[in-house]
C-alpha cells in the first residue's frame, strides 16, 4: 500500500514540488516582481483553468487508484451471469459487464494498475535516466560517448515492438514486468533531455565560481547544475505519465499486458469491444476514463512547460 499512497502524493505533488527547490533555483525571471521562477510558475498555473481542470481530474483518478473504497462499496469480483450486460441505472451507474460484474467498481479498481505502472516506470526513468544524463553531460568525453551510444541503441528499438517481445518471452505479465519494460525502453529520452540542459548550464559563471571555491564534483552537479534541469524534467515526466497509462492499456489490449482476472481499463476495452453496437456504454466508460487521464497529463505537461519557460512570459 505504501507505494500507492505515495502514488497519490506524487501526482498531487507536481505543482507543490515547486516549493522545495525555490531557494536554490536561480531566480531566472520576473525582475520587477522579484519572485522566483517556481513562485511565478505556481501563480500562473493556479490561474490557468485548463491546468486546474486537468489537475483535479488527475486527483480524482489518483484517489480512485489509492483508495478505491472511497468511491465504491461494490466488489468488482462479485459477478452473476444472470445480470450480464444490464444497462446503467441509479444504483449501478455503469451497469453490468458481460460476466455480470458491477462495471462501475471495475472501472474504479481499474485505475490502480494503470496509475501504479505509470508512476513506478516514471520514477524509475527519472532517477536512472536523470543520473545517466547528468553524468554524460557533466563529464563529457568518453563517458558521454558511451552513454550516448547506448542511448542511440535503445532509441532505435521501437517501443511497442520491444515491449511485445519482452512480455511474450517473459510470460509473467504483471504490474512489475510491465513497469519494468516501460522503464527499460523509455529511459533514454529523459537522459537526453537532462544531458542537454546540463551541457547548456555547466559553463555558466556561477558553476565556475563554485569550482573556484573548491566545490566537489558531486556538489556542483546536484546543487548547482541539476536545479536547472528540473523544469524540463518535470514537464517531460508529466507527459510521460500519460503516455505510460496509454501504453499499459495498449499492451493489455494486444494481449501481452495484464490478464483478465485483474482489473484494468485496457481489459475492459478489449473484452467488450464486440458489444459496442448493442451496449455502447461498455466501451464508452473505460475509453472515456482512459482518454481523460492521458489528456489531463498531457495538458498538465503543456501548461507546466509554458509556466516554467521564462521565454513564454
Amino acid at each position: 500500500m505504501s507505494d500507492l499512497t505515495s502514488a497519490g502524493a506524487a501526482i498531487g505533488g507536481a505543482p507543490v514540488a515547486g516549493d522545495g527547490p525555490t531557494t536554490d533555483a536561480p531566480g531566472g525571471s520576473g525582475k520587477e516582481r522579484s519572485a522566483s521562477l517556481w513562485a511565478d510558475a505556481r501563480r500562473q498555473l493556479v490561474r490557468d483553468p485548463v491546468f486546474m481542470i486537468a489537475f483535479l481530474y488527475i486527483l480524482v483518478v489518483g484517489s480512485m487508484a489509492a483508495f478505491p473504497k472511497l468511491w465504491t462499496s461494490q466488489d468488482p469480483r462479485n459477478c452473476d451471469t444472470a445480470r450480464s450486460r444490464i444497462a446503467p441505472s441509479g444504483e449501478h451507474p455503469f451497469g453490468f459487464d458481460i460476466l455480470g460484474c458491477d462495471y462501475y467498481s471495475h472501472a474504479i479498481y481499474g485505475a490502480r494498475p494503470s496509475m501504479v505502472i505509470a508512476i513506478m516506470a516514471t520514477t524509475a526513468i527519472v532517477v536512472f535516466g536523470g543520473v545517466l544524463g547528468l553524468l554524460a553531460g557533466y563529464y563529457g568525453g568518453w563517458v558521454d560517448t558511451i552513454i550516448s551510444r547506448v542511448m542511440d541503441i535503445f532509441f532505435s528499438l521501437p517501443f511497442l515492438l520491444g515491449a511485445i517481445v519482452f512480455l511474450t518471452v517473459i510470460k509473467r505479465q504483471n504490474v512489475w514486468t510491465i513497469a519494468m519494460v516501460l522503464f527499460l525502453l523509455a529511459w533514454p529520452t529523459i537522459a537526453r533531455i537532462i544531458r542537454g540542459s546540463v551541457i547548456s548550464s555547466k559553463d555558466l559563471d556561477y558553476v565556475h565560481a563554485a569550482k573556484a571555491v573548491g566545490a566537489r564534483n558531486g556538489r556542483i552537479m546536484f546543487r548547482h547544475i541539476l536545479p536547472n534541469a528540473i523544469a524540463p524534467m518535470l514537464v517531460y515526466a508529466t507527459i510521460v505519465l500519460g503516455s505510460f497509462v496509454a501504453a499499459e492499456a495498449t499492451l493489455t489490449f494486444l494481449g501481452v499486458g495484464l490478464q483478465p482476472p485483474a482489473q484494468s481499463w485496457g481489459i475492459m476495452i478489449s473484452t467488450h469491444q464486440v458489444y459496442f453496437l448493442e451496449d455502447p456504454w461498455l466501451l464508452l466508460f473505460p475509453c472515456g476514463l482512459l482518454v481523460g487521464t492521458v489528456l489531463s497529463f498531457i495538458l498538465m505537461g503543456d501548461a507546466l512547460r509554458d509556466a516554467l519557460d521564462p521565454k513564454f512570459r
Binding site: S156, V165, F253, G255, F276, L283, C287, V294, L295, L299
Partner: protein
C-alpha cells in the same frame, strides 16, 4: 557530402549490432528469469519431456547459457547474427515454417497499409499545417491545435476500435442497406474488417487510422516551420519582386518548410510499423503486425523475436536513408 554519408554508414554498423544485441539480451534475460518459453505453448498441461526437449532444441532455446541468470549469452548471439546475415534465417515457427516465409506472405498487406497511412498523413497533415501556419490565430489554426492534443491523447487502439464500430459497422450497415451504392464502397471501403475480395479498398480506413496518430504531429511541424519561414528575408524579397502569392507560398516558402516534415515522415515509417501491430489486430488485416500479436497471444516467442528483429532492421535502414536524404536536401548539413 560524401564524407558525411560514409561516416553515417560507419555509425550504422555498431547501432545495428547494438540494437540486435539489446533485443537478444532482453529475450535471454526473460528466458533466464522465467524459464523455458516453450512451456507456455502447452498452457496448463504438462508436456511429455521428450516432446518438450525436441521443441526446445528445434526453436533454439536449448543453449545451457539460458539457464544462467544474467549471462549475456554471447555465443548464442554470434550464432544468431550468422544465421541472420549469412543465411537470412530468422528462425522457424512451431510448424517448422521459416519466419521469413511467414513475413513474405504478410508483407504485401502491411506495405499497402503503410503507404496509405503515410500518403494520408502527408497530404492531409501538410495541407492542414499550411492553412494553419499562413493564418495564425484563425479557426484552422485552433482546429489544428486542438485536434493535435486530442489525437495525441487518444491511444491508437481506442481510436481504431471506435472507428471500426462507428464507421465500419454502424455507418457501413446504413450504406450496405442502400441499393445504389456500389459494393466497392459499401462492402469494401466501409468494411469493419479486412475483406479478401477487396484487398485495397478495405485497407483504406485502417490506413487512415494508422496515419491519424502522426497526422497531428505532421500538421504541427508544418505549421511551425511555415510560420518561421514566412518571415524570412528571402520570402519578403520574393514578395517585393512582385511574385504572385501562390508562387511565394507554393515554391519559396513551402519548399524550405518541408525539410523537417519530410524527415519526420521518414522516421515515422518506423513508428508506423509498430503502430501497424495495433491497427492490423483491430481490423484483422493479415499483415506482419497481426502475425506478431497472434504469435504473442499463443506464446510462439520464436516468431515474435524473428519478426521483430526483421522489423527493427527495416526501421534502422529507413532512419539511415532519411539521414542521407536529409543531407541531400539540405546543403547546410555537414558533419565534419
Amino acid at each position: 557530402m560524401g564524407r558525411y554519408v560514409i561516416r553515417r554508414l560507419l555509425q550504422f554498423i555498431p547501432t545495428v549490432l547494438g540494437t540486435m544485441f539489446l533485443l537478444h539480451y532482453i529475450t535471454s534475460l526473460a528466458i533466464q528469469f522465467s524459464g523455458n518459453p516453450v512451456r507456455a505453448l502447452f498452457g496448463d498441461r504438462t508436456p511429455p519431456p521428450a516432446l518438450l526437449e525436441a521443441i526446445t532444441e528445434r526453436l533454439g532455446y536449448g543453449d545451457p547459457c539460458l539457464d544462467q541468470r544474467g549471462n549475456p549469452c554471447f555465443g548464442l548471439f554470434l550464432d544468431r547474427l550468422q544465421n541472420i546475415f549469412f543465411h537470412f534465417d530468422f528462425g522457424i515457427n512451431l510448424r517448422q515454417r521459416d519466419v521469413t516465409d511467414l513475413v513474405a506472405d504478410a508483407l504485401p498487406f502491411t506495405l499497402k497499409l503503410l503507404v496509405i497511412a503515410i500518403v494520408f498523413e502527408a497530404v492531409v497533415g501538410i495541407a492542414a499545417g499550411v492553412l494553419a501556419g499562413l493564418r495564425g490565430g484563425s479557426f484552422t489554426d485552433y482546429l489544428v491545435k486542438i485536434s493535435t492534443v486530442f489525437v495525441i491523447s487518444v491511444p491508437i487502439f481506442v481510436l481504431g476500435v471506435v472507428v471500426r464500430e462507428f464507421v465500419g459497422v454502424k455507418f457501413g450497415n446504413v450504406l450496405r442497406g442502400q441499393e445504389w451504392i456500389p459494393d466497392v464502397i459499401s462492402v469494401g471501403v466501409f468494411a469493419p474488417v479486412f475483406k479478401q475480395e477487396y484487398p485495397l479498398a478495405s485497407l483504406i480506413i485502417p490506413g487512415m487510422v494508422l496515419g491519424a496518430v502522426s497526422l497531428a504531429t505532421t500538421a504541427r511541424l508544418t505549421r511551425t516551420s511555415i510560420m518561421e519561414n514566412i518571415r524570412a528575408d528571402y520570402v519578403r524579397t520574393a514578395r517585393a519582386k512582385g511574385l504572385t502569392n501562390k508562387r511565394v507560398i507554393g515554391v519559396h516558402t513551402l519548399r524550405n518548410s518541408l525539410i523537417p516534415v519530410i524527415t519526420f515522415l521518414g522516421v515515422d515509417i518506423g513508428a508506423a510499423m509498430a503502430g501497424a501491430v495495433v491497427t492490423e489486430t483491430i481490423f484483422n488485416v493479415p499483415g506482419i503486425g497481426r502475425l506478431v500479436t497472434f504469435s504473442a497471444r499463443t506464446g510462439e516467442s520464436s516468431v515474435v523475436v524473428g519478426v521483430v528483429t526483421m522489423l527493427v532492421l527495416v526501421v534502422l535502414l529507413a532512419n539511415l536513408l532519411v539521414d542521407i536524404l536529409y543531407a541531400v536536401l539540405d546543403p547546410r548539413i555537414r558533419y565534419e
